[in-house]
Amino acid sequence: MSLRRFGIAAFALLAPLWNGGLALAEQRFPPPEFETGYKMPAITTPAPRGLAMEYVDVAVLVTALGVAAWLVHRKRSRRGLIVLSLFSLVYFGFYRKGCICPIGAPQNVAYGLFNPDYAIPVTALAFFLVPLLFSLFSGRTFCSGVCPHGALQDLVLIKPVKVPLWLEQGLSIVPYIFLGAGVLFAATGAGFVICRFDPFIPLFRMTGSFFILCLAGGFLLTSLFVGRPFCRFLCPYGALLRLGSLVSKWRVRITPDYCTQCRLCEQSCPFGAIREPLVATANPAALAPDRRRLGWLLLLLPVLIAVGAWGGSKLSVPASRLHPTVALAEKYLDPKKPAPTPGSATPETLALTRADENAEAILTTAAAVRRKFDVGGWWFGGWVGLVVGLRLVSLSTRTARADFEPDRGSCYACGRCYLACPNERVRVGLLSPAEAAGLNANRAASRVAASART
């Protein structure tokens, strides 16, 4: 790599000039002596937000997660979840301005793991781990009412449109790729891309660049019609929670007791998370092509990973340009770089002047970062291959289901389906058992009629 070679050459050339820069401890020249007894004001240094307040944030998070789990699994209250969402939106969103949030926390953790000079803040670690821990027991209760991003999208959802299944399945691997990218860029020190392209933080702060506000407006408008577009198709932390909730101890149950297969709940989920019953096919011969396909896909998986890793290694050079030092080094080595013009200095020319003065330091750093990206590119590409492969595998497997039930991974535990279930309506007293029975009879009759037509 030319950059690295240049770095070494530049270091060798400039090393003799690098003989100091260490100023001695010197006293500054004192201010004038005033005759009128004037007292110099002291410079004020307002303290940053106290550590104690960060523990308050963690406490609020844990409490809100507990309340959400209780509302989802025990109280089964959609209205309670709306109230909790509003609280989270106000507290984590508009009061705490969306920072720190678990969505960005994986980056802090990755950055801390690869840069020992950076102490992962206790809050970042807690915000990363606690919702994950909760997901192992109560599913995506964080998404349901604690996450300000989810709350905002959920509360503005007016007219849900069904996303075609192919699009849904295709887009749902994006969060994993975004997570991989976030970890890659954080670990290499290039920046926190998840935070940078977060579409809702600018709304919480009420400021931002034009681009990011357009992104925010776009996501907000989309969420009026598409349920939780960020959560489903972008949120990298949601990707982790999805994995956690796959093995959760408790799951969201649409019906409080038993499913009457009335299909009333089917349309209630704006996120397409409710799966209909799937009865195991009686004829094993019909399954054979599926099995064969699954076998091929499993064999394809290592190939996909290898191809991904190879592709990722090709991406490492352009990706490394996101690191400010690499970008500066490349610009510095570019023969067409703008010349410094006195009187109209731009930040770019000022940075180039700095590069000129510390060329060997900047080029060495840039070369080191690029080496990190060389390794990270392989890992990232392999991760993308794995994600694509596993998605294909999961599409080729079937899980037998007796009842209508939400998909463990896709369910945001928003509680919309509860009241769609006549048994639930009976439980909360909105419907008498007799009415419910009539409803079921009607539904069953229409289903018989429908099957008769086909």
Partner: protein, 342 residues
Amino acid sequence: MKPHRRRAGFSRRDFLRAGGAVLAGAAVTRTGQAADSRKPNPWAYDVSGFEKTDPKLVRYRELRRFKSPHRDARRLALGPDGRVWIAAGNYVCAIDPAGNSVAEIAFAVPARCVAVANDGAVIVGLRDHLEVFDAQGKRQAAWDSPGKRTWFSGLAATETAVFAADSGSRAVLHYDRSGKLVGRIGEKNKDRDIPGFVLPSPYLDVVLHPDGLLRVNNAGRHQVQAFTVSGDLEASWGKPTMAIDGFCGCCNPVALAVLPDGRCVTCEKGLPRVKVYSLHGDFDCVVAGVESFSENAQTSKGDQAGDGVKASLDAAADAKGHIYVLDTVTSEVRVMAPKATA
């Protein structure tokens, strides 16, 4: 199915619709300017108009230049034998006319100024006291510190006296050669009509003029002042302006030298430039303009040393009328000679 219960009561949808619009609207109205690293900084402190010198005014050319043997050069002085003495870092070193380093004195603290008397004695100013050496660099004496606020920044010496510019106490101290303090010159004194030195930074300099008076730079007042040895203020000249005929910035000039014909050489920082003024303070010509000191002119060089004496210039003149200019950023000495008159 029963109609949806909530639709009858408060309309959450309308509320959200309005709320969303307000939210987006508020965010859009508060859109910031995107940071673009290629656009010129609209808030640059722009003095580029003053960084160009009219070539007609420059009446000196560079004969040669040599580097100080040590970094952080602060002041220079010319000896009677033609050697250049430079106070640089924790050293004072002598360079012969051929550019060879011929003597070197080391100190534990930075050497801030140096003067050479006609008998060859070398006086070195450290921050709080003076030391005397012979022409070979052997220590003869170290004088007591005159006070707690003392911050020596300029020196002039004859066979009988040493004048030490003490920026800290805002005075020029008059010593005899045995180290006895004879008088204090230039301190604020209403009765003698002396306004006092205004020194935001340690740049007080003192030179001996052939007319028998001292020339001292009162940087905060943008003036050069002439004092008698006994401390009377005889004359002041200089005006604050970024234009070429005055002294720029908040506190200039920072160094003085005197030509054999009595004209005064001034050095400025900020807009690093060396100029010549007539005996009465009329602008005469430019020795070297800002263009000659591109590194020195960078703002970022201004604040690197803790005591604020990084980006400045110093000058000395020899009997032939050559001006030795020291750039404190590059620690280089340039020898400037008058251009042949056309």
